[in-house]
Amino acid sequence: MGDGRHDGRPVVVLADDDVAITSNLAPFLERAGFSVHVAADGTTALELVRRLDPDGCVLDVLMPSPDGREVLRRLRADGRWLPVILLTAVGESRERAIALDEGADDYLNKPFDPYELLARLRAVLRRARPGRRPLSASPGLRAGDLRMDRVARRAWLKDTELTLTPKAMLLLDYLMTHADELMTRERLLEVLWGFDFPVGTRAVDNRVAELRRSLGDDSARPRWIATIPGQGYRFVATVEEAR
């Protein structure tokens, strides 16, 4: 494995205490074009990030000393805004909300498809804004007339507060923090429910319909949420940090 960014490949720190996982994932990501540095605990992960200034970081939540969530908190407290993907495990739905609250750029539930990790990693690196806080770590967002207070979980269109169910709010949050990305129904279902729910993707369609009603969005000429036929949805408005 490389020990710097001498060859132009994106540098990624992969932190998980299970050697069976890192010894298989690291070569997989290396072959896919990343320079991977492995940490078996939180302290090593923090050291590697400080020393290497990597392009991205994959953190297992259930690592020893300190755990992945604490590593993420310390990185953000240091003003390090590199993209972070959390590998979550216990109490999926609770874990998920926390991952979003604490500014992870994305998360995957174990056991995940490694190709899915690759896709997420490429997506967060593409979305990264070097030196700037990612939208997923911002307390407030704005897209045109639409404003969201992510901490209070409230949203306004112009001056009118939107009345949304908790799941619709979660969906809006995820779409806005991942704006301009094609989100498959399956992925959104996992966001809403924490796992591939057998309800099928109608549950997603129903929540998107709820959001569109609240936003007064026309699916034929969308201002906010576009349907990508046969694939999923995309938040099409430009999203920026709101103060």
């Binding site: 299970d18 069976a20 070569p27 216990v90 174990k110 190709y115 057998p198 099928g200 109608r202 549950a203």
Partner: protein
């Protein structure tokens, strides 16, 4: 095979072995899960307490108020023990899920690694005569199967614990949507699928519930009805209310369930003989039971082998203006009993 190739195979061996162990664990814990519920120490203690209490009451000459007190105490002990058993089971599911997650993640990463090393993705299928590729595809499919099983078990544990997001649910709309969704399943076009909801004397009132979850429950039942029936069979999805509860039924003229299997259908991982050749993890009816229970309702199943099956879900009707109706009935003696659970 060259050096890196051999290394990749060796790298795969460890997680595959772990996978084999995971399979064995699952094979053992499949029936064990039921055994566990049946032999929970808390429940056993309570049953002993119940018997002891009943015997004591008999010895004391059975004064009526003493009997009632004993019965109340015994019922309370049994309820407390059932709650403890349910907690034990949840903890067990969480641990099992947790212990299988990392080995499964490693197996899938190992497989992806190997696919990359050999320049092949298992899902694209091996070339004819490629034995290594065929083995890889097979191991990959089995890893996916265990992943599904683990995720299904997690769903159950999650459902029992997480808060419901309730809102008024328009049941006729939901049932129509279920019929439409299962209409896409294999073989559905060869079944006659009917949805019946009453219009007279008044339409069904909306119920308070989590629409997504209720959808999952009814969809599971309708999916089963299609799966366990043949072309030309009928599937009926119907709803009614009797002033106290709302009843949803999914009935079919399919193959039915053998008498010796019907007692186990609500348990997780239970799969009847007819189901073994069909895809699925045996979690569907357990999911239906948990979802109904979370809504304060109960479920029951009646079946005749070779004739068909009907599953009934009773959900409480919301109280309030508009729900009440003037009632007069004649008194009847006796009651009917059904196999209801949850």
């Amino acid at each position: 095979m060259n050096g890196p190739g051999r290394a990749a195979w060796a790298g795969l061996l460890a997680p595959v072995l772990a996978g084999a162990i995971a399979c064995v664990v699952l094979e053992i814990t499949g029936p064990g899960l039921r055994l566990y519920a049946a032999t929970s120490p808390g429940l056993a203690a309570a049953i002993a307490g119940l018997l002891g209490g009943a015997m004591t009451a008999g010895v004391l000459g059975a004064r009526r108020h003493a009997d009632r007190a004993a019965a109340r105490a015994a019922a309370a002990a049994l309820a407390a023990a059932a709650a403890t058993a349910a907690q034990d089971r949840l903890r067990f599911l969480a641990r099992l899920d947790h212990e299988l997650k990392n080995p499964l993640t490693a197996i899938r990463a190992g497989l992806a690694n190997l696919e990359q090393a050999t320049g092949m993705r298992a899902c694209s299928g091996p070339a004819p005569g490629d034995e290594g590729g065929a083995a890889l595809a097979s191991v990959s499919a089995q890893a996916d199967r265990i992943t599904r099983l683990v995720s299904d078990l997690r769903k159950l544990a999650d459902l029992e614990a997480q808060a419901l997001e309730t809102a008024p649910v328009d049941l006729p709309g939901l049932l129509a949507e279920v019929a439409e969704a299962v209409g896409d399943l294999p073989g559905a076009s060869q079944r006659s699928i009917r949805v019946t909801v009453p219009q007279a004397p008044w339409p069904l009132p909306p119920i308070e519930g989590d629409r997504d979850l209720l959808f999952v429950a009814v969809q599971n039942l309708a999916g089963n009805a299609i799966k366990f029936s043949a072309p030309g069979d009928t599937v009926e999805i119907r709803a009614s209310e009797d002033g106290e509860a709302l009843l949803i039924e999914v009935a079919d003229t399919g193959i039915g369930i053998p008498g010796d299997e019907i007692g186990q259908v609500w348990e997780e991982l239970a799969r009847g003989r007819a189901a073994r050749s069909l895809p699925g993890t045996g979690i569907g009816l357990a999911l239906v039971r948990v979802i109904t229970a979370r809504h304060g309702g109960r479920v029951a199943i009646r079946s005749r082998h070779g004739q068909g099956t009907v599953v009934s879900l009773w959900l409480p009707l919301p109280a309030g203006p508009g729900a009440a109706a003037d009632v007069a009935g004649s008194r009847q003696r006796g009651d009917s009993t059904g196999k209801a659970v949850a």
